[in-house]
């Protein structure tokens, strides 16, 4: 056990202080975005970033590509909306209900899907998402109003008023930082190291005596709960929900965001999330059919830009620092 602890300690890359520094940078980044874009859009982007982070945990860190993450977003959206309409209008309780709802669904379905990997995992998730979409859009039409959508019943509670855009921004930013902090700690913990090892070679992790099933199941549930968190924020912020929040065709969005940012990198997921949203906003207003651009970019990433933006920045930084050190060496030689 002692040697294992040593190994873990050696792998842990950054100290606690670095996490807080990064959180300040992220907060500053989003605040700096406000003058460039409108504040309500930045808030919207941040919610999507939380969703992208939840997907990054599953795909980037554990190596399980899911085509059904939208199911948990939608569960969060509908669980919190229905809770606010039928039980309590308190926003915090509605959030709790949404996150719990998504976590419960993820935990239950996780028992089945986590045993699979690769293509069966991807498509079984998609199939469950299809079932969820059908249940929301058709079966429970009486409660959810199907395609027409429903308004949430959340009412302001104390100072928590989501029609105040400053408050909404700060509230969402808080949860984005919270998610980032939690995932940073989680992925750097011994638990996170096992998850990343499962991505590399699950069989070896099993040989080491770890029960990989429970690690995968817990990760899947956390990922689902975080997607649900993003969903509840949509409920609070948008205040009107429709089955588009659970539509299976939207699954390409988190995949794209995480890939373009660089899978397995939390900054990458945030940068990719923002980039995707900017792209969607600007393209969909100019080009009526823009999904082919998304497809084309995905192909470029897959063939030539595997590490996404994060890798691109790393290569660029490496080239610049190389150039600098060369210049310094040349300068030192001439003196």
């Amino acid at each position: 056990m002692n040697s294992k602890a040593d190994v873990m300690h050696g792998i842990r890359p950054a100290a606690k202080g670095a996490v807080f520094r990064d959180m300040i940078i992220i907060a500053a980044f989003f605040v700096a975005l406000i003058p460039v874009l409108a504040m309500h859009r930045v808030t919207d982007f941040m919610i999507f970033c939380i969703f992208a982070l939840s997907f990054d945990l599953l795909y980037g860190f554990m190596g399980r590509l899911s085509f059904g993450q939208v199911l948990y977003l939608g569960t969060g959206v509908y669980a919190s909306t229905l809770f606010s309409l039928h039980v309590s209008t308190n926003p915090l309780l509605a959030m709790l209900a949404g996150v719990l709802g998504a976590a419960i669904v993820a935990a239950a379905l996780g028992l089945i899907v986590v045993k699979l990997n690769e293509a069966p995992f991807a498509l079984t998730n998609l199939a469950f998402n299809q079932i969820g979409f059908f249940l929301i859009g058709s079966t429970f039409q009486k409660i959810t109003h199907g395609e027409d959508g429903i308004s949430s019943g959340v009412e302001p509670w104390g100072f928590m008023d989501f029609s105040n855009k400053y408050f909404a921004f700060c509230f969402v930013l808080f949860f984005l930082l919270f998610t980032f902090y939690m995932l940073t700690r989680l992925t750097r913990s011994p638990f996170g190291i096992i998850i990343r090892s499962i991505k590399e070679n699950e069989l070896r992790v099993k040989f080491l005596g770890y029960d990989t099933f429970s690690y995968k199941w817990i990760t899947f549930t956390i990922s689902g709960a975080l997607a649900g968190l993003a969903g509840t924020l949509y409920t609070l912020y948008v205040q009107f929900v429709s089955p588009t929040f659970i539509h299976p065709l939207n699954n390409v969005e988190p995949i794209f965001a995480v890939l373009i940012g660089g899978a397995g990198n939390l900054y990458g997921a945030i940068a990719g999330g923002v980039l995707f949203m900017v792209m969607r906003d600007s393209l969909s207003t100019h080009v009526p059919q823009w999904e082919w651009i998304l497809g084309g970019l995905l192909l470029i990433i897959v063939f030539w830009l595997r590490q996404g933006l994060a890798g691109f920045v790393r290569i660029l930084a490496g080239a610049v620092s190389n150039r600098l050190s060369l210049r310094r060496a040349a300068g030192g030689g001439s003196q």
């Binding site: 795909y59 190596g63 590509l65 085509f67 089945i112 045993k115 699979l116 690769e118 293509a119 069966p120 991807a122 498509l123 079984t124 998609l126 199939a127 469950f128 299809q130 079932i131 059908f134 058709s138 079966t139 065709l249 390409v252 995949i255 890939l259 059919q289 823009w290 999904e291 082919w292 998304l294 497809g295 084309g296 995905l298 192909l299 897959v302 063939f303 595997r306």
Partner: protein, 277 residues
């Protein structure tokens, strides 16, 4: 009830046409080829385009559409799947999904988003126990049976077929024998694409052609592959017909739930398999 059964066998037959290609790529390369849905949809739109130009002849137009789909299928295999094969399965899945997105938008661009109807080539209907059913559906069901027998002959008797069957079992083992497995895969891949197009064309008169048809059929075809066992060709045939019946019988009582019921069956099969293992 007999009406539903015939309808179910028709749907099952079409699912079998579409699933064969998926099952083979899945069994050999372990990737789920989303682009299969693109070829399927594209083939149907080719067919719709050719149909008025050849004087409404269903067979000639279908053959032309299949011929037009061959280069598309080949290009997908050669330039996308083979380049990514052996590297990362996830990237191959994402790349084929990207192709599906591009294909769907291309269809919307060229042919528009409005669903297009195709008239049935055989206008004859039978009267049977008080209910009527078109001869066309019987023909489709029978053609699936012919295809099943034909493919069995192909995979048992021909060299290409035998190599592919062996590779489904153990791809590396076949490569160790000095055979270029990729070459045979591309042949079978193109064959699978052609069958998908044929399935799409046969299905078009029953439903309609719309840009998202590839997305819709793909999920169900994938459920067929999962239920039948990946790369198991006989299993694919049986599960295609069984799930076709599930769709038809569910659709009779609760039409919106028809597709969803397929996934429910798939989930049950998966649970059963995972607890048996």
């Amino acid at each position: 009830m007999i009406e539903s059964a015939i309808y179910g066998l028709t749907i099952g037959a079409i699912l079998y046409f579409v699933s064969i290609g998926l099952s083979i790529t899945f069994g050999t390369m372990r990737i789920i080829n989303f682009a299969h849905g693109m070829v399927y949809a594209l083939g149907v739109y080719f067919f719709i385009t050719f149909l008025p130009r050849v004087g409404g002849n269903f067979v000639i137009s279908a053959l032309l559409a299949i011929a037009a789909a061959i280069p598309v299928g080949y290009a997908i295999e050669r330039f996308v799947i083979r380049r990514l094969y052996g590297e990362s399965l996830d990237y191959a899945i994402i790349a084929t999904y990207a192709l599906l997105l591009i294909g769907t938008d291309a269809i919307k661009w060229i042919w528009g988003t409005v669903p297009q109807q195709v008239t049935e080539p055989i206008g004859i209907s039978f009267r049977f126990f008080g209910g009527g059913f078109p001869l066309y559906r019987v023909v489709i069901s029978l053609s699936a049976l012919v295809l099943f027998l034909g493919l069995n002959l192909f995979f048992r008797k021909t060299v290409i077929g035998r190599i592919v069957i062996a590779a489904l079992d153990d791809s590396e083992g076949v490569q160790c024998l000095g055979l270029d497995v990729n070459k045979y895969f591309s042949i079978v891949f193109v064959l699978g694409s052609c069958l998908a197009v044929l399935g799409g064309i046969l299905y078009a008169p029953i439903s309609a052609a719309d840009p998202y048809m590839g997305h819709d059929i793909l999920l169900i075809a994938f459920a067929v592959v999962i239920v039948g066992g990946m790369g198991n060709l006989t299993g694919t045939f049986i599960s295609a017909l069984a799930l076709g019946l599930v769709i038809a019988i569910t659709g009779r009582y609760w039409s919106e739930a028809a597709d969803t019921m397929v996934f429910a069956v798939m989930a049950i099969v998966l649970i059963y398999k995972s607890y048996k293992a």
